[in-house]
């Protein structure tokens, strides 16, 4: 115990120590001597504290990367920081490679903020800017990474915010409207490219030296066609600017182009009146919601001074208020509609906007209807763009149909199955997948009464699902697409099973498609997956009551248990997961005893033993039992690999077991053994990855290995090797587009490995 420090003394000690720490080591003693003068006790306390400063032994070193401005990025020399946003820092930079002189703005992810969500957003903004080419939108010039942090280079606008510019230069009403129309054009251009800006406000529009308004900051913009649920959630959580946020944005409801119209309306209000429609500073959130969602917007002519009132009364009032309707359907649906009305006003034509009243209410339905039509049109355009393949327009000439059927039913899948275990097959499989899916979709439309065809189609969809994203198999990492394919397969199998209750093939196929569908559910949908598995298991168990299941159906049932155990593990019901897991293993072992040639049962037994080991190790904390299961799995893996030494599947299976075993070794204190085994796993997976760079699963596992390896090496104080591991990991992650990764875990790994690799 330290003796209690007398009051007041500590403040002195703290000051002197903190000052001393800011000096080079050599100068500290002199400084302390001077600062403490004759106070021996003070000096003693200060020196004791300072003596504890030992740079060689780490202590509470939880420091994250210090913010460090790059000196240059490619041909650009950083001049100074010009802004700091929620996720990035913006620098002014100059191109000085002698080519030509150009000032640019560089936005780079802030150190320490390079989390998965932020990096994702950042890439999204870059992608969005890349899509937009418009004279009134800042241009994206370049992009890259600096110390593993993404950055992009934009046009630098040396300008003044729109409203301030209009005020300073005393723009007339017509001139203000003309500037605003340019902004509308820019927003319309974004909408046409399926992009919502979502943060339109006076501060985000600068007028450059030439008097051209430029729209900037697409930091919280959204791609309309991005269907990823996760992306939507993350975006929904983004902060916004309360002054210009629409009621639906405040309430967290889905946003449409009409939401941007609302923000444009706010901007127009401010331009015409000279001040914003609401002042929302220093209000509580509840008040804010009330104001934006309920309070009536003042009429511009009333809010503006008397001299402007006459100009604003009537059409301009109505145009602004129509843009600011609380209900999105009552507004202009697009920026172009708002612009059109303003142009009509400028030309002296009657405008669309009317003061609210009975006449308006009669048109309300039409307004709503128009909105849904607009959405339908956007969707139709997107589909037409994506599906240009002539095959889809193929008509049902019967010969052509038979050819298609043959191609999709046999050739493509024989080809697919033949290449699946080969190293490097993923790219070819992707092509097969794409083609086959096109064939299948076109055939499915013809299949109404044809049960045989349905069976073929169902099998086809199931196989496609496997290629897209089967858990525990090499796959393309397209979980969502796989889920769709499995769902289609299950629906078709179910139809066949209804038509032919005794068809074992249909029943079996249905079970498998459902099991695989269930394992693709992520996040909040997991419960759905579990339901599906339990339902399927119940069906199979009922069938088992009537007659013993054949080998294939036994494997199906075991796979239901396999999947249920995975789900239960995720739900943290470890004991239940253990029970289900043991049931799966018993069933698989029995199937294998009945027919030692049942390869499927053999492989799934090995996989299930691995997951049993995982469960024992990470949830039940019984490393001995984990080791036992994993050794059994290892024996099967080796047997399978001996039988087929070239098989990438067999190699990947073996690597998974060794991956888990390395963790057992490490956790039981055998650090050297764990590291050695993990290094072997890394080597094996790196080879598999080198041969098959499109294989998402191997890539993900390899990346996670490097992260773990780096962490372990660091703990062993083998810094240089740790760094090398993180850097290798960063290389694996390098081609991975965080936008394309839908798996939060993988995105977090990518962010982490990049951080670690750039840290020292």
């Amino acid at each position: 115990m330290t003796p209690p420090v007398p009051p007041g003394r500590w403040e002195r000690v703290k000051e002197i120590v903190a000052d001393a720490l800011e000096l080079p080591r050599g100068e500290r003693a002199d400084f302390v001597g001077r600062a403490c003068a004759a106070d021996v006790e003070l000096r003693h306390d200060v020196e004791t504290l300072l003596a504890a400063d030992d740079p060689d032994t780490p202590f509470l070193t939880l420091e994250r990367i210090p913010e460090r401005a790059p000196e240059r990025l490619g041909p650009y020399r950083i001049v100074r920081e010009i802004g700091r946003g929620g996720m990035g820092t913006v620098y002014l930079a100059e191109r000085d490679d002698g080519q030509f002189e150009q000032r640019v703005a560089v936005k780079i992810v802030r150190a320490g903020l390079d989390s998965e969500a932020v990096v994702r957003r950042f890439y999204a903004e870059r992608q969005i800017l890349a899509r937009l080419q418009h004279p009134n939108i800042t241009r994206l010039l370049d992009g890259g990474t600096f110390e593993s942090k993404p950055y992009f280079v934009m046009e630098y606008i040396e300008g003044e915010p729109l409203v301030a510019y209009c005020g300073r230069t005393h723009r007339t009403l017509k001139e203000r409207i003309a500037l605003f129309l340019a902004v509308c054009d820019a927003v319309e251009h974004a909408h046409r490219n399926l992009i919502l800006h979502r943060d339109l406000k006076a501060g985000n529009i600068l007028v450059d030296a030439a008097g051209t308004p430029k729209l900037l900051d697409f930091g919280i913009a959204k791609l309309l066609e991005d269907g990823s649920a996760m992306e939507q959630t993350l975006l929904a959580l983004r902060p916004m600017t309360p002054e210009t946020a629409s009621p639906e944005q405040i309430r967290g409801e889905p946003l449409t182009t009409a939401s941007d119209v609302y923000s444009l309306g706010m901007l127009l209000f401010e331009l015409l009146v000279g001040q914003p429609a609401y002042r929302v500073r220093n209000t509580s959130p509840a008040e804010l919601v009330r104001t934006i969602c309920e309070a009536a917007v003042p009429r511009p002519s009333v809010a503006a001074g008397a001299e402007r009132a006459r100009q604003l009364r009537g059409d301009l009032d109505n145009i602004v208020l129509k843009s600011l309707e609380k209900e999105p359907a009552r507004r202009y649906q697009r920026a172009s509609e708002l612009a059109e009305d303003l142009r009509r006003y400028l030309s002296g034509l009657p405008v669309e906007a009317r003061a609210g009243g009975a006449a308006y209410r009669a048109r309300k339905f039409v307004g709503r209807h128009r909105k849904s039509l607009a959405i339908a049109a956007v969707v139709a355009l997107a589909i037409a763009g994506a599906a240009g393949d002539a095959i889809l327009q193929g008509r049902r000439a019967s010969r052509r149909f038979e050819e298609l059927r043959q191609l999709s039913g046999t050739f493509l899948f024989e080809f697919h199955d033949a290449i699946a275990p080969l190293p490097g097959a993923t790219a070819a499989r992707e092509l097969v997948e794409k083609r086959a899916l096109q064939y299948l979709d076109s055939l499915a439309r013809e299949a109404s009464g044809d049960t045989d065809l349905k069976l073929e189609l169902a099998e086809g969809y199931a196989r496609i699902g496997d290629a897209q994203g089967a858990t525990f198999e090499s796959n393309l990492g397209k979980t969502r697409e796989a889920q769709d394919s499995y769902r289609k397969a299950a629906a078709l199998f179910a139809e066949v099973a209804r038509a032919r209750p005794r068809d074992v093939k249909a029943r079996d196929g249905l079970a498998r498609a459902r099991v695989r569908q269930a394992t693709t559910y992520q996040g909040a949908d997991r419960a759905m997956g579990l339901d599906l598995l339990q339902k399927t298991a119940a069906d199979l168990e009922a069938a088992q009551q009537r007659q013993p299941l054949d080998g294939s159906a036994q494997v199906s049932l075991a796979m239901c248990y396999f999947g249920s155990s995975e789900r239960e593990m995720q739900e943290l019901k470890s004991d239940q997961a253990l029970g289900t897991r043991l049931k799966a293993n018993a069933l698989l072992a029995a199937a294998l005893r009945e027919d030692p040639e049942n390869r499927e049962a053999e492989r799934w037994l090995a996989q299930s033993l691995k997951r049993l080991g995982f469960l024992y190790l990470t949830r039940l904390h019984q490393p001995d039992k984990a080791a036992e299961s994993l050794q059994q799995a290892l024996a099967i893996d080796r047997k399978m690999l001996d039988r087929d030494p070239g098989s990438a599947t067999a190699k990947a299976d073996l690597a998974l077991t060794q991956d888990y075993l390395s963790a057992v070794l490490w956790r039981t204190g055998d650090h050297a053994g764990g590291l050695r085994m993990l290094a072997g796993v890394v080597e094996a997976r790196a080879a598999l990855f080198a041969a098959d760079a499109r294989n998402y699963r191997i890539r993900y596992l390899l990346l996670s290995n490097y992260v773990v390896l780096g962490g372990w090496l660091r703990q062993e104080k083998r810094e240089a090797e740790a760094l090398a591991a993180f850097q290798s990991g960063a290389k694996v992650a390098d081609g991975m587009d965080p936008l394309a990764v839908r798996d939060a875990d993988a995105a977090a790994l990518i962010a982490r490995v990049r951080k670690e690799a750039g840290q020292r």
Binding site: V5, K14, V17, A52, L60, I250, P285, L572, R714
Partner: protein, 183 residues
Amino acid sequence: MADVAALLIRWQDGDKSALDEMLPEVYDELRRLARIYLSRERPDHTLQPTELVHEAYMRLVAQHSVDWRNRAHFLGVAAQVIRRVLLHHAENRSAQKREGYSNRVTLDTALACLERDSTVDIQTLNRALERLAEVDARQGQIVELRVFGGLTVEETAEVMKLSAATVKRDWSVARLWLRKELS
């Protein structure tokens, strides 16, 4: 579900009971997030408090509130929760050794890596930190935020309404104090 955003405002306004109402909610969210991280095909976990805390903030607060000043307060609360969880974990583990009880709480497991990476024992650190807080409450809180919440100097400054320079000075002195105390 308690509205964490609203509770934060009450807490800011001086209502001490709001903190107690908030803690279980924050704890549950942290645990739920930890579970997601743990449920994957990977036998080892690399979860850092920083990631957890920021993600939890996005979900619990940013979603319900447009007032982003709440962020600082939330980070402070989350750091407290994590400190308690880690302590609890360490205590349980000693109990586990005695009783052969197998502990399966996710957040503990997820954060175990923090403990493994750390060069000091959590319980010892906690005791020293309590003593530091008696000598210098401000330094005690800075250490809590930085070590358990994974906050940067700037974030800590934001939470404590201090300048970054002050936080930096206090942090460097506090580190020395703890180091001396633990040696």
